[in-house]
Structure formats: structure tokens, C-alpha cells
């Protein structure tokens, strides 16, 4: 167990190292620097700037120094938002994205599992067809169509929710639902398929033969096993949702981390992009590890090598 954990942590750190290196190399290989403006800077000023942001010296030196700083937990200064460190920017925006993401995560799982289970139990009836049609539909229509339409109908016409912005729980509803919808659809399809398979297995027949009512058979016996694929999907899902959505945050003007991802690349803000990518990758690796650790606890048939 401990050996397994240690090996996975080392592997994760190694992956993270590769991710950081790749991001740094790509960002530095991009044409155009962070201080390129319409008007050329005087050489002395540019030299000072480069020195302040630790972008002087050879690429090899820059890379080595950056890795050392990252290892110390210092993500450096943003080259665009002068005088603000990447740690500070992420510290302010990440909690917003995470709050939104947590709600969306819970919604995606709740809606997806409920819909998928009902569809599987009522297989080949109109309930099943309607649920699966809704699922394919919400995978096929991009969020940035659903979101403006929701704003149009629910916010501008019916005044149920604020149009955009960030503040109370009411601000959270529309963006969280829009963010969760495609993932909920994916979870629903996953649950339906896996539950259909499980419902044919012997232990379910045994449970039925014992005389348990159908609801208990499904919820207590079948669903427990059928949710395993959802558990493994929830790792990447959580990482994706918690680090904010570029599109949903843009539409609802949520002050999350999403915009910094895109603008960072466009502004050649090496360290901001680097920091954001590090956060994303760390979360992804950590959640995947958590899923792998939880798996044998949930399914006793699996033994770790």
C-alpha cells in the first residue's frame, strides 16, 4: 500500500516536472516577448525589465532558475499585471472558480446519476428515450449557446436570476447549471450503460430472489457496482470543473481563473500560464490518485498488484 502510494506520488511529480518544462519551453519558444509593444523600448529599459522578471540570461539558466523557484512554491511575478505575483492572482481568482466548480461538480453527478439510473431501470420506455435524448442534446449544443439563451429567458425575461456577475448564491445558479450540463449528460450515459450491464449479473438476481423490492435492489445492490466508472470519471471531471471554465466565466462575468489562462497566453505571460497549468495538472494528478486509492475500497474484486 505504502509502496504503491510512494510510487504513484513519485510518478505524479515526474509528470508534473515534464508538464512544467513543456509549458516553459513552449511559452518561451513562442514568437514575441512579454514586453513587445507598438513602440520599441529603449534597450536599457528592456534590459532592466528582463532582469526584474528574471527573463535574462540564457534559456537554460532561465529554465533552471524557474524550476528552483517553482519547487520553492514561488510562481513569480506576472509580466502583464505588473507588481502582482502569480501566487496572488491565483489566490484571488482560484477560490471563485473552485466555488463555482464544486457546485457544478455536485450538480453534474447528482443529475447524471439520477437520470442515468432512471433511464436504465425504465429501459426502452419513453422515460429512457427522453432522458437519453436530453443527454445527447446537451452534449451536442455548446455551452455558449445554452448559456446566452438561459440568460435571455431566465434573467432578462423572467428576472429569476441576475444576468451576470458574482456575489450571492443567486449568481451561482445559472453558471453552475450551464457548466454542469454537458458533464451531467456524460455521467448519465455512463451510468445507464454500466447499470444495464450490472442488472443482468447473478448477484442482482440473487437480491431479487431474496424478495427485495426493486428500488432496494437497484439502489443498494446494483448501483453500488454500476457507479465505479463514474468514480474513475470523477477525477478528471473535478480537475476540469475546479479550475474554471474559459467560456462560462466569460459569459457570466465570473471573476475566476479562466480568463487568465487565455489572456496569459496572448500576453506571453510566461509565469502566469505556467502557474495556472501547474495548478491544473497538480489537481488532475491528485484527483486521479485519489480515485485509484478509493477504487479498491469500493470494489472488493479489485486487488492491487
Amino acid at each position: 500500500m505504502l509502496v504503491f502510494l510512494a510510487r504513484r506520488v513519485v510518478l505524479g511529480l515526474l509528470t508534473l516536472f515534464c508538464v512544467v518544462s513543456l509549458t516553459f519551453v513552449m511559452m518561451r519558444a513562442m514568437p514575441g516577448g512579454p514586453f513587445d509593444k507598438e513602440r520599441k523600448l529603449p534597450p536599457a529599459v528592456e534590459k532592466n525589465l528582463l532582469a526584474r522578471y528574471k527573463l535574462d540570461g540564457t534559456l537554460g539558466e532561465q529554465y533552471r532558475d524557474y524550476l528552483l523557484d517553482v519547487a520553492r512554491g514561488d510562481l513569480r511575478l506576472s509580466t502583464k499585471y505588473r507588481n502582482r505575483s502569480v501566487n496572488e492572482i491565483l489566490g484571488q481568482t482560484l477560490p471563485v472558480s473552485m466555488a463555482l466548480g464544486t457546485v457544478a461538480f455536485a450538480l453534474a453527478l447528482a443529475i447524471g446519476i439520477a437520470l442515468g439510473a432512471v433511464a436504465a431501470v425504465r429501459r426502452a420506455t419513453w422515460v429512457d428515450h427522453a432522458a437519453m435524448a436530453a443527454a445527447v442534446l446537451s452534449i451536442s449544443i455548446p455551452t455558449f449557446v445554452i448559456a446566452p439563451v438561459a440568460v435571455l429567458l431566465l434573467a432578462l425575461r423572467l428576472h429569476l436570476f441576475p444576468v451576470a456577475g458574482w456575489g450571492g448564491a443567486r449568481h451561482l445558479v445559472l453558471p453552475a447549471v450551464c457548466l454542469a450540463l454537458p458533464y451531467a449528460a456524460y455521467v448519465a450515459r455512463l451510468v445507464r450503460n454500466s447499470l444495464l450491464e450490472v442488472l443482468h449479473q447473478d448477484f442482482v438476481r440473487t437480491a431479487r430472489a431474496k424478495g427485495l423490492d426493486e428500488a432496494r435492489v437497484v439502489v443498494k445492490h446494483a448501483l453500488k457496482v454500476a457507479l465505479l466508472p463514474v468514480v474513475s470519471f470523477s477525477g478528471p471531471l473535478a480537475a476540469n470543473l475546479l479550475t474554471g471554465s474559459l467560456v462560462v466565466e466569460e459569459i457570466f462575468k465570473v471573476p475566476g481563473v479562466g480568463a487568465f489562462f487565455v489572456n496569459g497566453v496572448l500576453n506571453r505571460d510566461v509565469f502566469l500560464v505556467g502557474g495556472a497549468v501547474i495548478v491544473y495538472s497538480t489537481l488532475l494528478i491528485a484527483f486521479n490518485l485519489a480515485v485509484d486509492l478509493a477504487y479498491p475500497l469500493l470494489d472488493r474484486r479489485i486487488r492491487r498488484e
Binding site: 513543456l22 514568437p31 452534449i139 455558449f144 467560456v247 496572448l266 491544473y280
Partner: protein, 306 residues
């Protein structure tokens, strides 16, 4: 000695008997046809502006007009060309890379496999759209310079499309590589591969003649599911202003324009509903097709349904 092939001869009759699949195929065919030939018959150019701003749908402009008085129908059809091309070519790029990568990793096994799949893991840990954005911005001047050297400066918009093909292809092949590798790992232990090897077939021949035909089914399924995913990704990039640039259009950029025109006073619903509807219909048809194809080709799901 040849590998036992999937019985292709029986697939088409099964597809044609399935009403949902026929409906999807017909719908897709019509959308492709309209996108390819439609722009010639609408009577407007996709960049042709007029004084008629934000006109609601009428007989002259069935889908209305936009901010610059351009005919939205023409732009939706023209955008279909771009979106479909990006989806198709991006998918083909990722298909080629993914299948080759997965086959070699799975077949060679050992250290090669380990190294190749670790590489996939690293790329998996990058946020995918950010990776595309970095790729597209990094390669942009290169592509432009390349086109300039060839004397093709007029195709500056084409450079952006080329980048999207490469960028989206570069992030979409990972899943395909994993799936193909898994299949190859299982297949290569089977007796027909052993027999082929015993008869003196080399690695390349085994991969091409014996393993590839057996991957056909699963690859087809993921192909139909990957095209809508790539189209969706392109639309996200266009929405963020990083995809197709005006005056060219793609479904994503049109929807982005429509979303930007939303305001509390006047609602220009046609700018959002028509491009969104056509794109949604296309993705719906492709997704349904992929699902049905999986049910037809994957014996496990067939058994689960009985």
C-alpha cells in the same frame, strides 16, 4: 494467412435497417451538401455587406442579417464548410497519429510502450484547450511566413485554418492512442498473430495486414464521436476569438457574434438560433451515429441490451 476480419458485408444492411441511423446519415448528407454547394445559390457573398442591419428573417434573408448587413444564411452555410473541414481534417490528423502511436506502443510493448504511454500521460495532464491556444499562437507566424514564401499571402485566413487542423489534431489523438493500444495488447496474443509470425511475417506486415483490419470497428466508432468533439473545440476557440477570424465564418464564430449581440433592449434571436441550431443538429446526428455504431459493433453493449 489473413486475419479474421469483421464481417463488413453485414454491417451496411444492419445500418440501413436502423431507422435512427438512416435519419442521421440523411441529415448529415443534407447539411454537407448545403454547406458545400449552398453558398453559390443564396445570392449573397459571405462577406458582402449591406445597409440592412439586423434585419429579422424574411423571404429575402431567410436567416436575417447581422450587424454589417450580411446575409446570415450564406454565412451559416459558408461557416459549415469551415467547421466541417476543421472537424474532418482535425479528426483525420488525430486518427493517423493516434492509431499509429497506439499500435506501435501496444505491439512493441516493454520499454517502448512505457515511454510512449508516459508521453501520452504528460500531454493528458495539460489543460487541452490551453495547449491548443499555445500551439496556435506559437505556430501562427511560422505558418504565415511559410505561406508568404510560397507566394500565397492571400490565404492568410487559410493559415489560421491550417493551424486549427494541426492544433486540434494534436490534442485529440491521445484517447485514440490509448484505446488502440489496449486493443492491440489483447489482439497480439491471439493465435492468428502467432500463426502469421510463425509463417515469417515481419512486424510491419503483422500490424498492417493483421491488426489494423481488426481495429477498424472501434476506430470507426471513435471517429464518428471525435468529429463532433473537434467541431465543438473549434467553436470554443472561435468563441474566445482564437479560431476563424472575420470576415470568414465558422459556426462557432457566428454563435459568438450572436452571443455578443445579446442585450436587454433588442433581442436578435436569429443570430444565435440559426447557427446554433444547425451546429447542434450536426453534432447531434454525429453523436447519435457514433452511439448506434458502437451498439452495432461492440458485442458487449449488444448483450447488455438483450
Amino acid at each position: 494467412m489473413n486475419a479474421p476480419e469483421i464481417r463488413r458485408d453485414r454491417l451496411w444492411p444492419r445500418i440501413l435497417r436502423n431507422r435512427a441511423m438512416v435519419a442521421c446519415l440523411t441529415g448529415l448528407f443534407l447539411i454537407v451538401l448545403a454547406s458545400v454547394f449552398g453558398p453559390f445559390f443564396t445570392g449573397y457573398g459571405y462577406e458582402e455587406t449591406s445597409d440592412l442591419q439586423f434585419a429579422p428573417p424574411s423571404l429575402r434573408h431567410p436567416f436575417g442579417t447581422d450587424l454589417h448587413g450580411r446575409d446570415v444564411l450564406t454565412r451559416v452555410l459558408y461557416g459549415g464548410r469551415v467547421s466541417l473541414a476543421v472537424g474532418l481534417i482535425g479528426t483525420l490528423v488525430s486518427l493517423t497519429v493516434g492509431v499509429a502511436w497506439g499500435m506501435i506502443a501496444g505491439y512493441r510493448g516493454g520499454r517502448t510502450d512505457l515511454a510512449m504511454m508516459r508521453f501520452v500521460d504528460v500531454l493528458y495532464s495539460l489543460p487541452r484547450l490551453v495547449f491548443v491556444i499555445v500551439l496556435v499562437t506559437a505556430l501562427d507566424p511560422l505558418a504565415r511566413a511559410g505561406l508568404g514564401r510560397l507566394g500565397l499571402e492571400t490565404f492568410a485566413g487559410g493559415a489560421r485554418m491550417l493551424l486549427l487542423f494541426v492544433g486540434l489534431g494534436a490534442v485529440s489523438w491521445l484517447t485514440m492512442a490509448r484505446i488502440v493500444r489496449g486493443q492491440v495488447l489483447a489482439l497480439k496474443e491471439q493465435s492468428f498473430v502467432l500463426a502469421a509470425r510463425a509463417l515469417g511475417a515481419r512486424g510491419g506486415r503483422i500490424l498492417g495486414r493483421h491488426l489494423l483490419p481488426n481495429l477498424w470497428g472501434i476506430v470507426m466508432v471513435y471517429l464518428t464521436l471525435m468529429i463532433p468533439a473537434v467541431i465543438l473545440d473549434e467553436s470554443f476557440l472561435s468563441f474566445l476569438g482564437l479560431g476563424i477570424q472575420a470576415p470568414q465564418s465558422s459556426w462557432g464564430s457566428l454563435i459568438a457574434d450572436g452571443a455578443a449581440a445579446i442585450n436587454p433592449i433588442r433581442i436578435y434571436w436569429w443570430l444565435l438560433v440559426f447557427p446554433g441550431g444547425v451546429m447542434g443538429a450536426t453534432l447531434l446526428a454525429l453523436n447519435l451515429l457514433g452511439d448506434q455504431l458502437r451498439d452495432l459493433l461492440d458485442p458487449r453493449t449488444v448483450r447488455g441490451r438483450r
